[in-house]
Symmetry: C2
Subunit: 117 residues, 2 copies
């Protein structure tokens, strides 16, 4: 990959093309951040996180099923995905299940969520 560079001429194009790049992120870090983004890479889940952020308290699943034009299993699936990514938390009270944003979100997750208008 090392390219020959005629040091004589090529005033502006000096850098043949390749340049010394910054050390990449650790693979695990990149994977973790990508997972956060993947969890947010869907309009429905964007809305869910937005609603959880706006309501400062836990939100019942029935609220989500009422808010979206989707079947209940689909809503459950999206919530499970947010939970698997570590973005939300859930508990049951009686018949109902409530979800809330985790309060111990990693910085990357907090910043990603902050990108939602």
């Amino acid at each position: 990959m090392a390219k020959r560079v005629p040091a004589l001429e090529a005033p502006e194009r000096v850098r043949g093309c390749c340049v010394q790049l910054a050390p990449p992120l650790p693979d695990e870090t990149a994977a973790d951040v990508a997972e956060i983004f993947r969890a947010l890479a869907d309009p429905t889940r964007i809305q869910m996180v937005h609603m959880l952020e706006a309501a400062r308290e836990p939100v019942c699943v029935c609220d989500f099923t009422a808010a979206f034009d989707l079947g209940q299993p689909t809503v459950s699936h999206h919530l499970a995905k947010l939970k698997a990514a570590g973005l939300v938390d859930s508990f049951k009270r009686g018949v109902w299940a409530f979800y809330r944003l985790r309060d111990d979100l990693p910085v990357a997750a907090r910043r990603a969520i902050a990108a939602i208008p």
Copy 2:
């Protein structure tokens, strides 16, 4: 917030848990944000954006192909995806193609990128 609903049997169901939710984001907004997140929902593209951010100048495609253990078409594919999402910009100089972060990124994109360590 629980609505006290006496025995006036509404044809609608009586909810004992649901709260008044914030108005959802406009569908188009949610879709736009989701597209940004989808563009960043891959470890390779996270690394690419990270490198573009670190190198304050345009980066040659050959640098990316050298940095990743991926075939050249795959690298090209990822760059095209970042470009389609409006995150990066590209131009050709001689034989080489250079990519750079767009300088007119929407706020959501800028914030999403800021979530990358």
